[in-house]
């Protein structure tokens, strides 16, 4: 599973990345939103773990951009402050869910797997819908 981790805290990023790596995930790291977008353009990503507060381009802007580049990629937002407002904002903008720092690795993986399931489901739906459309065209 291809995972992109965007966070300006280098130590946090590497620690999470190491834990994910030993559990079999392929982890890409980015310190800024711009770096993250650059990776998103070149790599097919299953999951993006994205910090809300980033220097320069902020989390929500990055979310928008990534969703545009690859709409099927699921994004889990990380935030230092847990408010319903920020969560709602992130979800309306297309994020899968949000998590409050600090969080345990199991919790993160659980949410990632959830997101991955959703992504798979969406992919299947799209795949299923495409032939169906063709059929429809044929029948009409």
């Amino acid at each position: 599973m291809n995972v992109l981790l965007v966070d300006d805290e280098e130590k946090f990023r590497t620690a999470v990345a190491r834990q994910l790596t030993v559990r079999g995930y392929t982890v890409h790291e980015a310190g800024t939103g711009e770096q993250g977008i650059a990776i998103a353009r070149t790599t097919t990503l299953d999951i993006v773990i994205l910090d809300m507060r980033l220097p320069g381009m902020n989390g929500t802007a990055v979310l928008k951009e990534i969703k545009q580049i690859s709409p099927l990629t699921e994004v889990i937002m990380l935030t230092g402050q847990a408010t319903v407002k920020t969560a709602m904002e992130a979800i309306t903008m297309g994020a899968f869910d949000y998590m409050t720092k600090p969080m345990g690795i199991d919790e993160l993986i659980y949410k990632m797997e959830d997101a991955h399931k959703k992504r798979k489901l969406k992919t299947q739906q799209i795949n299923a819908a495409a032939p169906a459309d063709e059929n429809n065209e044929q029948t009409n």
């Binding site: 805290e9 130590k11 946090f12 620690a15 999470v16 190491r18 834990q19 030993v22 507060r53 980033l54 220097p55 320069g56 902020n58 990380l78 935030t79 230092g80 402050q81 409050t100 720092k101 600090p102 969080m103 345990g104 690795i105």
Partner: protein, 597 residues
């Protein structure tokens, strides 16, 4: 560009000397307020007292002066009148005595050669009219005393033709009598003589009698009012003719002889440290002058009495007014002092409340700040757990684990540093002034709270510090709060990207701190409102509306001012001016204006 300047609104109380012993526990502001009110109390009390007392004193002095002038005048008139009336009485007395003697010539018993029996009868007759007559004598034209009755029988047949009075009497053309000055004569005892000549059967004969000066004096003393004054009679060369035996002896010289050409008059002279008022009146019968004298202090006794009464009156009124004014002023000012002290305390509380509110505003940012190191800790703990998990087959050497522990430790310190700074700021501190550099305080504020936040919000911070900024005596805690408020506001004003420029400069008298943002700016109407308490444009729950109000209160308390310039769409400039020599300016709370954009 809209611009509003808010200077000092209240007069600063002046410097006080502070007793360090007492001050512990009481804030400097309250002590300054107390000292200020104590001085005010004294000044007000004295001023009001003066308002009442000065006119009263002036009036009293004026009326006293009028009164004493009139009294002095009447005193002089009185004593002169007394001298005149006594003079007339004496003249009358002498004239009466002369008539008594004259009547002897016309009595039935008179013969040109009276014998001893007749002379005794004459003496009795004279004594019947006055006991001042000592004796009586009858002289023939040659000056031989041919008849005599009285206590000096040796005077019988005495020859008086060479006596001064006899020659005068014989030479006298207008009057037929003489009254002599007091003299010793043959009897060697002070007396004076009244002698009268009469021509009988073409022969001049003379009847004479001597008057006892003591009896004469007794007579004078018996006239009313004279007991209060000192009465003397002197002749024209100043010899005493009549005097108080306690003061001088007869025939001695008086030191003062009134001028002959002034029939009556007044004279003032100092006698043994005592000022005497003297009045004289020349007699008509003899060339004698009557002098009556009285010490001025007795004449003016009434004046002294009223003067004393006036002083007592003044003292009582002053005391009474003083007490009333003191009580009133004390009550009034105590009330005002209580209000002022409460206001100082309220200001302190408000500053603290606003500080806590700022902390609350910071909390969202700080949660992120703290959660970041906490996230590092939990994730690194996860890494270590993985290392110890044989399933992952990782390097679990002590060196590798130690490296992770170091990461955890430094993150923990980072978190505690943030909380400590927050606690430091939120703590309720008593105002404490010290010498500080504004640049350093600003840096500290930026370092503690805002720098990282500004980075995140994509706001560039430009610092233009003047290198020559002098240290000034301020409360660092309070001024930090002002800066934080200003920076918070600037940050809030910038919606997207922007720049906050902080500059300081010094122009000899004032240190100016300029906080300029490239935010949304404000119209003039809003600038007028921003310093009002509880005015806020922030969304509910984010701003208290107290920040700028409190900031203005703090800056005014330091003797400074805040100036605002703003242009909608371009940004705002807040300029704080602080006097460079602030050690003595007190805190006077100014809560009538102030707050955030």
């Amino acid at each position: 560009m809209a611009s509003v300047s808010l200077g000092k609104k209240k007069p600063a109380t002046t410097k006080i000397s502070m007793n360090q012993g007492i001050s512990s526990g009481i804030s400097e502001e309250i002590l300054q307020t107390r000292a200020y009110f104590n001085r005010l109390k004294i000044r007000l009390g004295l001023a009001v007292l003066a308002c009442f007392i000065i006119p009263h004193v002036l009036l009293s002095v004026y009326f006293h002066w009028q009164f004493t002038t009139a009294l002095k005048k009447t005193g002089k008139l009185n004593i002169e009148a007394l001298a005149k009336s006594q003079r007339n009485t004496i003249d009358l007395f002498l004239r009466e005595r002369e008539m008594n003697i004259r009547n002897l010539f016309y009595s039935k018993e008179f013969t040109p050669d009276p014998g001893e029996q007749k002379m005794l009868f004459f003496l009795q007759t004279l004594n019947h009219f006055s006991d001042a007559f000592v004796d009586v004598g009858f002289l023939n034209h040659r000056g031989i005393q041919t008849g005599y009755a009285g206590p000096f029988p040796a005077l019988l047949n005495k020859d008086y033709k060479n006596e001064e009075w006899f020659s005068r009497l014989m030479a006298e053309q207008v009057k037929d009598y003489v009254i002599t000055d007091v003299y010793l004569g043959f009897r060697n005892k002070p007396h004076f003589t009244i002698a009268l000549k009469m021509t009988i059967d073409r022969r001049v004969c003379i009847m004479r009698s001597t008057i006892d000066p003591d009896k004469f004096y007794m007579f004078l003393r018996s006239i009313g009012k004279v007991k209060e004054v000192d009465t003397t009679l002197i002749n024209q060369i100043g010899t005493y003719q009549l005097v108080d035996p306690l003061k001088a002896n007869l025939l001695e010289k008086s030191s003062y002889v009134p001028p002959r050409d002034l029939n009556t008059g007044i004279h003032e002279r100092t006698d043994e440290d005592e000022i005497m008022l003297m009045a004289h009146a020349w007699l008509n019968e003899v060339p004698w002058v009557l002098i009556i004298s009285q010490p001025l202090k007795i004449i003016h006794a009434q004046m002294y009495k009223t003067r004393n009464a006036m002083f007592v009156n003044l003292a009582i009124i002053t005391l009474f007014l003083g007490v009333v004014i003191w009580i009133t002023a004390s009550r009034l000012l105590n009330r005002a002092q209580t209000v002022a002290e409460e206001s100082v305390q309220l200001q302190t509380q408000l500053i603290h409340a606003s500080k806590l509110a700022s902390v609350g505003e910071l909390a969202t940012g700080v949660a992120h700040e703290i959660n970041n190191p906490l996230a590092i800790i939990t994730s690194t703990v996860g890494v270590v757990r993985d290392m110890l998990n044989p399933r992952f087959n990782l390097d679990s050497s002590p060196a590798a684990i130690n490296k992770e522990l170091n990461t955890i430790e430094s993150a923990a310190f980072r978190a505690s540093g943030i909380t400590r700074q927050l606690l430091d700021f939120g703590r309720k501190n008593e105002p404490q002034k010290g010498m500080h550099n504004i640049n350093d305080i600003f840096d500290k504020v930026l370092q503690s709270f805002t720098k990282h936040r500004l980075d995140l919000a994509d706001i560039e911070l430009v610092r233009n510090y003047a290198p020559d900024l002098p240290d000034i005596k301020i409360d660092a805690d309070h001024i930090s709060q002002v800066f934080l408020n200003m920076l918070n506001n600037a940050e809030d004003a910038i919606k997207e990207k922007g720049t906050i420029t902080v500059s300081t400069n010094f122009d000899r008298r004032f240190i100016r701190i300029k906080i300029q943002d490239t935010g949304e700016g404000m119209p003039l109407e809003r600038i007028k409102e921003i310093f009002n308490p509880f005015y806020t444009t922030k969304e509910p729950g984010k701003g208290t509306g107290l920040g700028l109000s409190i900031s203005l209160g703090i800056i005014n308390g330091m003797g400074g001012s805040i100036e605002v310039q703003s242009l909608p769409g371009k940004g705002s400039i807040f300029t704080i001016s602080l006097p460079a020599d602030t050690p003595t300016n007190p805190k006077t709370s100014n809560l009538d204006r102030g707050e955030k954009k």
